[in-house]
Symmetry: C2
Subunit: 158 residues, 2 copies
Amino acid sequence: MQKLPKSPIKHFTDSIYYDLEQTARLMKKLGNQVFEKLNLGLTSDEYITLDTISCNAGICQRDLAKLILKDRANTGRILDTLEGLGFITRFIDTKNNRLVRKMGITEKGLKKLKELSIKMETHFKNTTADFSEDEIDALQQSLRRFRNSIEELVKMNI
Amino acid sequence: MQKLPKSPIKHFTDSIYYDLEQTARLMKKLGNQVFEKLNLGLTSDEYITLDTISCNAGICQRDLAKLILKDRANTGRILDTLEGLGFITRFIDTKNNRLVRKMGITEKGLKKLKELSIKMETHFKNTTADFSEDEIDALQQSLRRFRNSIEELVKMNI
DNA sequence: AAAAATATGTTGCATTTACAACAATATTAT
DNA sequence: ATAATATTGTTGTAAATGCAACATATTTTT
């Protein structure tokens, strides 16, 4: 049985990279539009950050930056905003004998987060209506495995 | 049989949106690093644009913008660059009786694109080494179906 | 002990990006 | 026919982002 010849050059728009970026970009745009329309008082990035802090109590800035995939500079700026709004508190502590700025969510921040999370949940249900939970799970697992496999290739500079 | 209670609030970092954005961001970073390291003479966005033009001959700017998911303004700016480098030509034509700027890839651009595509192909093989082709295909299809299901929800403003 | 390297966070800047406003033209509605 | 609306591309501008440089402190190397 003959093997079919594969097309010699695959266009970028046919690649997994393109699908990933397109889908993520669309997703982000949708998220931004929802955040703007609903007038939630936080940008989507601030919400993501607040949520990430809420489930990583006492995390330091650099580790947080890795989680939210921003650089240290911008992570610090987002934290300035959240701190200014009274949603988080920051304090000096040590990690491996080094001075670091750790943070935690405040009562006010937790209240805000819960409020937003409920609205987000409603929104998520709408956008994934066509997909079964199993499909979503499978896609998520696949994405994570894919991410793990390329993670070590990327210099993060964080 | 009892149904297990679902956790009331899912953290953003556990959602498909987070996985998508993280994976895409990592992917883009990797792409940018490769483009920078290899000194290819084009940014990754310019390469993507050139590639997209090459397989959509005579496309107009707005339609191209939809494909590469940039707004019209930035699409125009990328095209200015590519035109300045002699990789594409632009010309006035009509589409639905309206004057539009269409474009096509030049010989020079095609040569550049082929050169880069080969380098990219090598790079792609490395980054997806851990994944079988079938897995990649499945992931791509899943991403596309997901994208289609949310596409109509997003106001594109293009 | 001194020097080099590393970890952490901040500041400044240059690039990218999105978005609104505009100009020009064509279509549709009144 | 005139006015209102829509399509396409450009320009201007404000915000987001990444990156390099810096400051500080700690660890590792020599």
